[in-house]
Symmetry: C2
C-alpha cells in the first residue's frame, strides 16, 4: 500500500467518524457554556487512529465497516473526553495546535464539557442496538467499560507519581502504566471491538492484546520523545511540556539512574516544584543531560524494539485473516505510528 | 408514618445502597491514587434520598424493590461523581462535613476519581440484565442518559453565569437551571426509574415530571438558604460558600434587583473578583443586605410555595397507587426535604 493510499484511507475513516461525532452532539441550549465548546473541540480532529483501527479490523475480519461505525465513533468521543480532562489534570496549554479547552473556557466549563463528552460516548453505543441486536450490543458495552476502567487506572498511576514526586518508578512500572493508560483504549479495544462486530462474536478477542500492547507502548514512548524533541507546529503540544508537568517518562526514569548525588538533588528539586516555578533553564539542563547520558537514545532503542514486536504480533493476531487493503492498512499503521516526525 | 419510622426506612434504603456502592468498586490496584480515595468518599454517605425515592417508588407501584437496587445504586454512584467534579468546579472546601476530595488528594486525582465514579455508575446498570431482561435494561440506560445530559447542561449554565459574572439572570433562568441541574437526576428520574421497574414499563413516566420539578426546586432553594444561614456542622459545607463561589442563587438574583447604583457597583466588583480576593467583610455585608432587602424572606416564601405545589403534584403522580408504607414514606420525603434545619 502506497503512502498516499494509506493516507487516503485514514482520511476516509476520519471523515466518517467526524460526521458521527458531530451528529451525536445535541443541537440545543446551552450553546455558549457547553455545546459550542464541545463542537469546536471535536472539529479539531486528530489522526483518528482509534476509529481507523476499529473500522479496518471489522472489515479485515469480513464485516461491514458501517456496522462498527457507531462503536468507532464512541471510542473517538471517549478519547476526546480523556484529552479534555487530561489537559486539565496536567495543566497543559496546547492540544492539536490550539489552546486546550480549559485554557480557552476555564477549568470548570472544561471539566463539565469533558463529562458531557463521556456521556455522549456511552450514548452513541445505543445506536448499535438495531444493527447488532441486544447481545452483541451488550458485548460492546462490556468492552467499552473495561476500556474506561483501564484508562482511568493508568491515568491515576501517572497522576499519583507526579503528585508525590516519586523517583522510585521503574521501567516495569512505566510499561504497566502505559498498558493501562494508553494501550487498552487506543489500540487493543479498537481492534477487539472491530473484530467482535466483524465476526459477530466469532473470534477470541484476546488475540489482539499483545499486538495492541506493543504497538501502544511503542507509540507512547515515541510520543514522549516527540514531546521533548519535536517541532511544536507539527506536534501540536508545547515542547518539553512533559518535563514541565513532571511526567514520569521512560527517558526520565532512565536519567534518574544515571545521576550523581548533586545532579539527583537538583533534578529532585526541579520535579518537586510547582510547574510555574520550573525554569526554562533547568528544563533545558535536564534535556541536555538526557541527551548526554543516553536517555533519549535508550528510548529510541526501546521504541524500535517495541515496534518490531508489534510487527511480529500483528502477523499472529491477523494470522488467519485473508490479505486485503484493510489488512495492509493495519500493518502500515505500525510504521506510521512509530515513524512520526522524529 | 412517625418520624422514627420514616428515618428507619430511609436508613434501611441507605444501607442497601451503600452495600451496592461498595461492592461495585474493583478490589485491585491502584489503591493509593484511585480506589482508596473512591472508597473513602463513598463511605461518607449523605441522606441517600435519590436511591430512597427510586426504591420506594418501585415498591409503591407494586414492584420488588430489590429489582430496582442496581439502578438506585447507579444513581447514587453518579451523584457522587457529580459531587466530586462540582466541588472542583466550584472550588469548594467541605463536603459532608469533611474536606472535598480534591482538597484531600489534589485536583488531578479528584477529576480522575470522579471519572471513575461515572464509569462505575454506568457499569452497575449492567447488573439489570439478568433481572430485567434486555428491553427494560435498555430503557433504564435511556433514562440514565437523559439524566446525565440534563444535569451537565444545568451545571454548564450555572458555571457559565459565574465565569462571566452575569448579572442579567432572571428568576425564570434560575428555575430552568435548577430543573436541569438538580431536579431531573435527584427527583424526577429516581421516581421514573423506580416506577419503570416496579410496573415493568406499565405507566407513563412523565407523570413524575411536575412532582419532581417542584420538589427538586423547593429542595434547591432551601439548600441555597441553608448555605447562607445554616449551621456548618449540620450542613456539612462551608457557610456562605455559595456567595464566595459567586453562585447565582434566588436570593442573589432577588437582591440584584433591590440595589442602588453604588451598592450594585460594589456587589458587581465583589462578584467579579477571584474567590480568594472576596473578603469575609464584603460577604457579610451582602448577607446583611439580603436580610434587609427581603431576599432571604422572598426565598423562604418561594420554598413554601414550591413545597405546596410538590404536595399537590404528589397526589397527582401517585393518584392510582394504593396506600402503603412506601407511599406514605414518599409523601413524607417532601416535608423532610424542605424542613431541614432552617
Amino acid at each position: 500500500m502506497t503512502l498516499d493510499s494509506f493516507h487516503a484511507r485514514l482520511s476516509s475513516y476520519r471523515e466518517s467518524t467526524l460526521a458521527g461525532l458531530m451528529s451525536a452532539v445535541p443541537q440545543r441550549e446551552p450553546q455558549r457554556y457547553l455545546y459550542a465548546p464541545v463542537m469546536s473541540y471535536l472539529s479539531r480532529t486528530g489522526k483518528s487512529i482509534r476509529p481507523a483501527l476499529c473500522l479496518a479490523t471489522c472489515q479485515a475480519f469480513g464485516g461491514d465497516p458501517s456496522d462498527a461505525l457507531a462503536s468507532a465513533t464512541a471510542i473517538e468521543m471517549l478519547h476526546n473526553a480523556f484529552l479534555v480532562h487530561d489537559d486539565v489534570e496536567d495543566d497543559s496549554e496546547l492540544r492539536r495546535g490550539l489552546p486546550t479547552l480549559h485554557a480557552e473556557h476555564g477549568v470548570p466549563i472544561a471539566i463539565n464539557a469533558g463529562d458531557m463528552l463521556t456521556a455522549l460516548s456511552v450514548r452513541i453505543l445505543r445506536q448499535n442496538l438495531p444493527v447488532l441486536g441486544p447481545t452483541l450490543t451488550q458485548r460492546v458495552y462490556d468492552e467499552f467499560e473495561h476500556m474506561m476502567q483501564e484508562s482511568l487506572e493508568g491515568q491515576a498511576m501517572e497522576l499519583g507519581w507526579v503528585r508525590d514526586n516519586r523517583r522510585d518508578i521503574t521501567e516495569e512500572d512505566y510499561l504497566r502504566m502505559v498498558l493501562k493508560k494508553t494501550c487498552w483504549y487506543s489500540f487493543i479495544h479498537p481492534c477487539r471491538i472491530g473484530a467482535l462486530i466483524g465476526t459477530r462474536d466469532g473470534v477470541d478477542l484476546d488475540r489482539f492484546n499483545r499486538f495492541g500492547y506493543y504497538l501502544g507502548t511503542a507509540f507512547q514512548v515515541q510520543d514522549d520523545l516527540l514531546n521533548l524533541t519535536g517541532d511544536e507546529q507539527r506536534y501540536g503540544k508545547e515542547i518539553g511540556g512533559d518535563l514541565l508537568e513532571g511526567k514520569r517518562t521512560l527517558m526520565l526514569i532512565h536519567l534518574l539512574r544515571q545521576l550523581d548525588t548533586q545532579e539527583a538533588a537538583r533534578v529532585a528539586t526541579y520535579l518537586g516544584q510547582p510547574r510555574a516555578l520550573r525554569s526554562m533553564r533547568d528544563t533545558r539542563w535536564i534535556l541536555d543531560l538526557m541527551r548526554l547520558r543516553g536517555s533519549l537514545e535508550h528510548a529510541r532503542k526501546v521504541t524500535r524494539q517495541l515496534a518490531g514486536a508489534a510487527l511480529y504480533e500483528f502477523t499472529q493476531a491477523f494470522r488467519d485473516v485473508p490479505d486485503s487493503d484493510e489488512k495492509r492498512f493495519l500493518n502500515q499503521v505500525i510504521s506510521y505510528m512509530v515513524s512520526r516526525d522524529l
